[in-house]
């Protein structure tokens, strides 16, 4: 069986973590979430690592929760395990660069927002699909997105559920780079090499400080988001909406 999250290192101190659950199109299933958590831990513990580039498939960076997982949430009282992902990624002690060559949707976008540097592709799409399926956004995105793209654009994205092309964010957000897909990983490598020249203890110290805002945002939202989820997932129509409106990139 192929590994759903690989780790390689070509440049000293730079680890490239690639999400590549091809059959599930990089959507969160329980095994995929477990593997990601394991990889975040591994990459953090290896003291040789100084920067992580988080990469996905060429056309899909991360699709957020798998439809089956959402249906389980809507039909039972299962806890959303993907919430752990945001926390685990925010706790990675070194800088993480999201090299989003492909689309990032819903929880996939939330995952990106837990990174330190964001690189989008002009051609790919990014958005919050939660409300299309009748439930409120999760994984800390209600606050993290506002910090990344501004309050009003974040509201538009969360209420509307539209998936914007990367180009939409070029001049109206705090996203670091929006580039042609073919240049996304190249740019991530350039940034990573620059950061990897710095000593790990200093990178760790700075990361601990600079990520306070994101960690606070996440802690502030998790209780409220869980409360809103209980309200929405308890509604009988939510499962039907998930079945009809789940966006599955093909």
């Amino acid at each position: 069986m192929t590994d759903t999250v690989t780790m390689t290192s070509e440049d000293e101190g730079v680890v490239v973590m690639t999400m590549q659950d091809v059959p599930n199109r990089n959507a969160f299933t329980e095994p995929f979430v477990d593997r990601l958590l394991e990889r975040f831990r591994e990459a953090s513990e290896d003291r040789e690592n100084r920067v992580i580039i988080l990469r996905g498939l060429e056309d899909i960076w991360c699709a957020g929760a798998h439809q089956d997982l959402l249906l389980e949430l809507a039909e039972g009282d299962m806890d959303a395990g993907d919430i752990l992902l945001s926390k685990a990624l925010l706790d990675v002690p070194i800088p993480v660069i999201a090299a989003m060559e492909g689309h990032a949707i819903g929880g996939g976008l939330a995952l990106a927002l837990c990174c330190d540097v964001l690189i989008m592709a002009r051609e790919s799409r990014y958005g919050c699909s939660f409300m299309n399926m009748g439930f409120t956004p999760g994984m800390g995105i209600t606050r993290l997105l506002q910090d990344a793209v501004g309050e009003y654009i974040a509201k538009e994205m969360m209420f509307g559920g539209q998936l914007f092309r990367g180009t939409h964010f070029e001049s109206r957000s705090g996203v670091n780079y929006v580039l042609r897909k073919s240049k996304v990983f190249w740019k991530a490598q350039q940034l990573a090499r620059r950061m990897a020249e710095k000593p790990r203890f200093a990178l760790e110290t700075l990361k601990g400080d600079l990520s306070i805002r994101q960690r606070q945002a996440f802690e502030l939202t998790r209780t409220r988001e869980s409360h809103m989820h209980r309200l929405c997932f308890g509604r009988p129509e939510t499962a039907a909406r998930i079945r009809e409106n789940y966006t599955k990139p093909t």
């Binding site: 056309d59 790919s124 799409r125 998936l163 092309r165 009809e244 990139p249």
Partner: protein, 89 residues
């Protein structure tokens, strides 16, 4: 709202396709082609179709949409659905 003609629906699809793919300027819009052939990716198509359905106030299940090969077939299906909706009203 009267049911728009097929040509009017083509124009709506075209408008949303252009709006969604700004690099469409150098691509000729041809309803006999699929949106994919005109440079759209799977999520571009989701956006274009959902915006068009919203304008027409119709909803076609995704399973039906996935069987279509080109824009003309999409327009035919949306037009037929709009007529059915009007007849039922």
């Amino acid at each position: 709202m009267p049911v728009p003609s097929k040509q009017e629906i083509i124009d709506i699809v075209k408008e949303h396709l252009m709006d969604n793919l700004e690099d469409m300027d150098d691509v000729e819009f041809d309803p006999d082609k699929s949106m994919k052939d005109m440079g759209a990716n799977s999520l571009d198509i989701v956006e274009v179709v959902s915006c068009t359905m919203r304008d027409l106030k119709v909803k076609v299940p995704r399973a039906e949409l996935s069987k279509l090969d080109n824009v003309t077939q999409l327009v035919d299906m949306l037009h037929a659905t709009a007529l059915e909706k009007e007849a039922a009203a």
